[in-house]
Every structure is written in C-alpha cells, then in structure tokens.
C-alpha cells in the first residue's frame, strides 16, 4: 500500500499571474468607450499637469543655461536653498518620531480619547497654513503671549529660523502618522505578541518586528513629508518676514524674484522645486509598487 499524501506538507499552489481584465467581460467596456475615456484623461493630465511642468523648465532655460546657473549661484538663492534644507532636516526627523509614536499608540493600544487624538493629527490638514502661521505669531511674536519672555532671554522665534521650523513641523505633522496608522491597524498586534511570548523585550520587538513590518510605509510617509516640508509656502511666509539671505526659503525666494520681474531667476529656483517634485514622484511610484506588494503579501495570510 502506498502511503497517503499528507496535505499539510504540500507547497502552496502556483497560480498564474496574469491580468484579469482582458478576459473578464463583466468589467470590459466596448473599444470606443475605453479609448474615449483614456483620451479624455490623458488630455486633462497633459493640459493641467504636464504643460505647467514643461513651462517651468522652459521659462527657466529661456535665456540659456548660463543665466540659469547664474541665478542658482546667486548668494540669496544659495541661502534660500540652505535654509530650506535645514528646515526639512529638522522637521522631517521630528515628525518621523512624532508620527511613529502617534501611530504606534493609536494602532496598538486602546485608550480614552483616541478619536480625539486622531482628529487632532488631522488638524494641520484642515487648517489653512496661513492660520497656522498666524497662531505662531500670536504665541511667539513680539506682541504675543510668550513674546516678552522670549525678548528678555534674547530668543528669536518669529522672523527667524526656529519659527520657520515650527511652522514646517506643524504643517507636515500628519503625513507620517496618517500613512502609518491604517497600515499598523491592519497588521494588528499578533506579531508583537508572538515576539513577546518568545521572550523578546519591548525594544527588541519594536526594532526586529514592528519596524520591519512598516518600513516601506514609513519611507513613503517620510518622502511625502519631506516634499511638503520643502515646498511649504503659506505658514512659512507668515512667520518668516522675508529677510533675504536669512529667513527666505526656496518657495518664498521664488515669490520675491517673481515680484521683482526676474522671471528667469524665479523659474530657475522654481525648476529646482519642480525637480524635487519629480524625484519624489518617481521614488513614491517605486515605493508604491513595493509597498503594494508588501501589503498584498500581508493580505495573502
């Protein structure tokens, strides 16, 4: 007698990976409907998204590469780039820590006031950035609540780098937390409990189980957060004071140049921001592809 197959030892079945759309008649429209819809979408994208992008680079290079490089080598422009990088370099790590902690406690624990915390995290999305800037002026400005105390200790917040960082942190706060909360909620706490039951400490569990599970989501959040931190205009504009070479970030610098009719220079700096957007977009697409794969791997469980 041959021994029976033990089904619990069998490998998973190999399913063919092919797109379902072509063969699935229920979700396939007739050819002309499909082509029209595709054409409408493409035209819209070209007109509203692609055209402005091309225009930025075209305008920036209108007077030749020489002027372009010249505009970027201008000391005010370099200072603006430096300040933007500094603000992002402080705001993004801060929000990485805040966002991770917030997402962790929301996804892994039950406590009173959780709904309130989630709404608070969304606040920067719903409040106009200008209002956010004004709030900081109200608190830290010369006439503000903490104004006299700050003046006494010779600390400048408004119209200085700390104000710009504060405003950037405020505006970019939700990006990382918002990205992580649904991901961590879906993953649940089984993995962490398994790690703990195997004798891992809380710290080991975090580094070896929780973090690897969310690394792509986290990177995605950081990327979006960084893009916004570098591009933020409204809130920063209110608290910065537009002091050239000191409190001017790239977006503010673009505005100043534009208002002074230095179009080529304005577009040159703007093209840097646009390039940043393109880089962000491509990394984001790549991550989404990775990220989606991880998520679907998760769902296959």
């Amino acid at each position: 007698m041959t021994t029976a197959i033990d089904h619990s030892l069998l490998d998973p079945p190999r399913l063919p990976r092919e797109p379902l759309m072509e063969t699935n008649a229920a979700i396939t429209e007739s050819v002309w409907v499909r082509r029209t819809l595709t054409a409408v979408a493409l035209l819209f994208l070209a007109f509203f998204l692609l055209l402005p992008l091309v225009a930025v680079f075209a305008e920036a290079l209108r007077n030749g590469v020489g002027t372009y490089v010249e505009a970027l080598k201008d000391s005010d422009a370099l200072d603006a780039i430096k300040l933007t990088l500094i603000a992002a370099a402080i705001a993004v790590p801060l929000n990485l820590v805040f966002g991770l902690s917030a997402a962790w406690c929301i996804a892994k624990f039950e406590f009173r006031g959780k709904a309130l915390l989630i709404s608070l995290i969304d606040l920067p999305f719903s409040v106009s950035p200008v209002v956010a800037g004004l709030v900081y002026v109200l608190i830290f400005g010369a006439q503000g609540w903490a104004g006299p105390w700050l003046a006494e200790h010779d600390i400048k917040v408004i119209f200085a780098v700390p104000g710009i960082v504060l405003a950037t942190v405020f505006v970019t706060f939700p990006f990382i937390a918002r990205e992580l909360i649904p991901l961590m909620q879906e993953q649940g706490t089984d993995d962490e409990q398994a790690a703990l039951s195997l004798g891992a400490t809380g710290w080991q569990t975090f580094w070896r189980v929780t973090l690897p599970n969310i690394k792509w989501g986290l990177l995605y959040g950081v990327l979006l957060c960084n893009a916004r931190a570098m591009g933020e205009f409204g809130a920063v504009s209110v608290v910065s004071g537009h002091i050239r070479g000191q409190t001017n970030t790239m977006p503010l610098h673009v505005e100043i140049l534009y208002n002074e009719y230095q179009f080529a220079a304005a577009f040159a700096v703007a093209s840097l921001l646009a390039a940043l957007a393109l880089v962000t977009l491509s990394i984001k697409s790549w991550l989404e592809w990775r990220h989606a794969d991880e998520l679907s791997a998760l769902r296959r469980h």
Binding site: L10, D190, D191
Partner: protein, 375 residues
C-alpha cells in the same frame, strides 16, 4: 509542567468573559478547550499565556504562582490562529527568533542556534525550506513553522489558539493527526482552543467544555461524550433529541407514552430526556417505545437519517441508523414506526426546552472580545 488555575475572573468592560474558572492540568497532557464563540475559551488560553491579565484568581506553573508575570517571562509557546509569522524573516530566522533575542549568557552560540533550527525543521518535517519566506508557504506549512518557532524556546507549556481554524478540511485532518503524533513524541503539556467538537474529541486526552465564561465539564473524551454532565455539554457535543418525561421512583415515563424501568438514578419529577439520534432504535409494535410517523428520510454516506413526528407529543425526533440496518432502509415518509432509546441522559425539566449552541456573543461586547478573525 503542571498547571493549576484557581478562580480566574476576567471582564472586558462590563462583559464578564471568565466567571471563576478552576482547572488542573497534569504534566504532559493534551487538553482541548472546547466551546462556542464567546464562551471564554480563547480568553482563558490567553490568560494562561499572559497575553491577558485576569482581574482575580491565580495561575501556577509547577506550583509556582506566575499570575503577575508578563508573557515574556512565562516561557510559554503560543501559536496564534493566523500563525503571526514574521513575514520579513525566512523560515529559519522565524524559528531562531526566540533564541536569538536572548541576552548574554542565555543566548546560544550561532552554531547552536543553527543546529537547533535544523532539528526543529526536521521535527516538523520541513527540512529544506529554511530559506523560504512565510508568503511562499502553504497554510499547513505555516502552521508547522509557527509550531517549530514556539517549540524552539523549549516552552513549559504549548498553547494553540484554534490551530486548524484557517485550514482546508484535508490539511486540517492530516495536521491534526500529525500534531497528536508530535505530542506523543515530545510530551509537551499542550492546551488548544477549538470550537469543533470533533477536533477536540479526536485529538485531546481531556476535554474542557466551556460555556458563558464557565467550565461546564472536564473529562476524558469518552466521559464528556457518553456522560455529559449538563444539557449544554450534551447538546454541544453532537446533535440531540429532547423529549419531555417524568421520573416516578425508578420508572421513567414519556409524556403521553408508556413508561419503563430506568437504570439511571434521578430524583422524581419532570425531566427532559436527552437522546442522541444514533442512540434511538426502531422497535416492534407492542414493545415499550414511542409511536411516530416518518416525515423525511435522507441518506448521507453510511448513515440513514430519519425524521419522524411523534404521535402522542408535539415533538419531532431524528434518528441516525446504519445503512446496513434492513429496518431503516425500507422506510418511506408516511410510515408508522416505533422508536425506543437505547441510551439517554436525564436532566430536570428546563423552562425553555432547547438549549442553544448558537454563538452567544453579547452584541455590545467590546470589540477586542469578539472572536478574532474567524475564517
């Protein structure tokens, strides 16, 4: 490792999940916690593991009270219903996890860990798959990896939460048999949770039947099936006919039917007679029994199920007879039959006749109490 559980109480908000549970488990036993959804079986398992804390009561492993210890100090091997394998780690890294997180002296050398992982893979019959990731494994293979990972830390007790819940019927059956063999080979004290009575009866040494946060009966598989202590256990461990009757001295009489001498000792009064469908037999007219009219005959494999309406009572009865039984084969709807119980249980007449084994989850119980991800 001996386990003593004393008077465990646990509530989720206002919902009492465990209401005073006492249980003694001997070293090396294979115990099933059996009950419907919301009976507290998973909560009890998680409380033993230290994944939930009891509100009141004590738990001792080998005489040592561990009720206040956190899960990482209890040394339990917990296998989750959905395995909770670390999906960014290979099979080998998953199994090695419990050893590699140990610190200082307690951590075995790299070679020792590799050797132990190899032995465990051999034990769960997955040698050669150490480089795979969990996503590349079938459900049965994942369950084996989860088990190997839990065994790697040489646990004092092995706890399995619905170990076969998420698997296909065939995989489940093979895995069940293998788990029994593994237990006989390794001898770990093992507790598993299930809502499937067949699984519990087939796999366990002893079955703990739970209902509404309390233990209804603890006994060997024969005990709980053949001598159910309560109507709930009778009903939960298989289908049952419930007929009204009355005990007078040593005599049992069905309402509207003839009586006969009963060998069970039961105080006189109104009773419910619990009879399993396969414990009813067809008898000749004239012998003690109940008259009935066949309403439906259905053949399932080797069983013939007959539904019949009692003549003197408003109840219907179900019979399960062997397909080899000539008396059963020829029955058609409308035939008059006479049935008599071979074996039965007597319980005081209940105000509501039929106990329910439907999930009795309280609808407004807090979310964490609802059954986790049942497939």
């Amino acid at each position: 490792m001996q386990i003593q559980i004393r008077d465990i109480h646990k509530a989720f908000g206002s919902f009492p999940a465990l209401k005073g549970v006492n249980l003694d488990i001997q070293s090396g036993e294979l115990i099933a916690l059996l009950g419907p959804s919301g009976s507290g079986k998973t909560t009890l398992l998680r409380t033993i593991a230290g994944l939930e804390y009891q509100d009141y009561g004590s738990i001792a492993f080998g005489g040592e009270d561990i009720a206040s210890r956190p899960v990482r100090e209890r040394g339990v091997g917990f296998v989750f219903q959905h395995y909770a394998l670390f999906k960014h780690m290979t099979v080998a890294d998953n199994i090695a996890f419990g050893l590699s997180v140990r610190k200082g002296e307690a951590r075995p050398s790299k070679e020792a860990i590799t050797k132990r992982v190899g032995e465990l893979l051999e034990l769960v019959q997955l040698a050669g798959l150490e480089k795979r990731y969990p996503a590349q494994l079938s459900g049965g293979q994942r369950q084996r990896v989860a088990l190997a990972r839990a065994l790697a830390i040489d646990p004092k007790v092995l706890l399995l939460d619905e170990p076969f819940g998420a698997l296909d019927a065939k995989v489940r059956k093979d895995l069940r048999r293998w788990l029994r063999e593994l237990h006989d080979k390794t001898g770990y004290t093992t507790i598993f949770v299930t809502h499937d009575q067949e699984e519990a009866l087939e796999l366990a040494d002893r079955v703990v039947v739970m209902n509404r946060g309390q233990i209804e009966q603890v006994g060997t598989t024969d005990d709980v099936y053949e001598q159910p202590a309560t109507p709930f256990v009778f009903d939960f461990l298989g289908s049952v006919n419930i007929l009204p009757g009355e005990v007078e001295g040593r005599r049992l009489r069905f309402d509207g039917g003839a009586g006969w001498d009963s060998d069970s000792i039961h105080p006189p009064g109104l009773v419910d007679v619990y009879v399993r469908p396969h414990d009813l037999q067809l008898v000749e007219a004239g012998t003690p029994g109940l008259d009935a009219t066949v309403t439906n005959v259905q053949r399932t494999g080797a069983l013939i199920r007959i539904s019949a309406q009692l003549v003197q009572l408003p109840d219907t009865v179900e019979l399960e007879l062997s397909h080899l039984d000539p008396a059963a084969r020829s029955r058609r709807p409308g035939d008059a039959i006479r049935v008599s119980p071979i074996r039965y249980g007597l319980f005081p007449r209940a105000p509501h006749r039929r106990p329910t084994t439907l999930p009795d989850v309280v609808p407004n119980a807090p979310a964490e109490y609802r059954e986790r991800g049942r497939n």
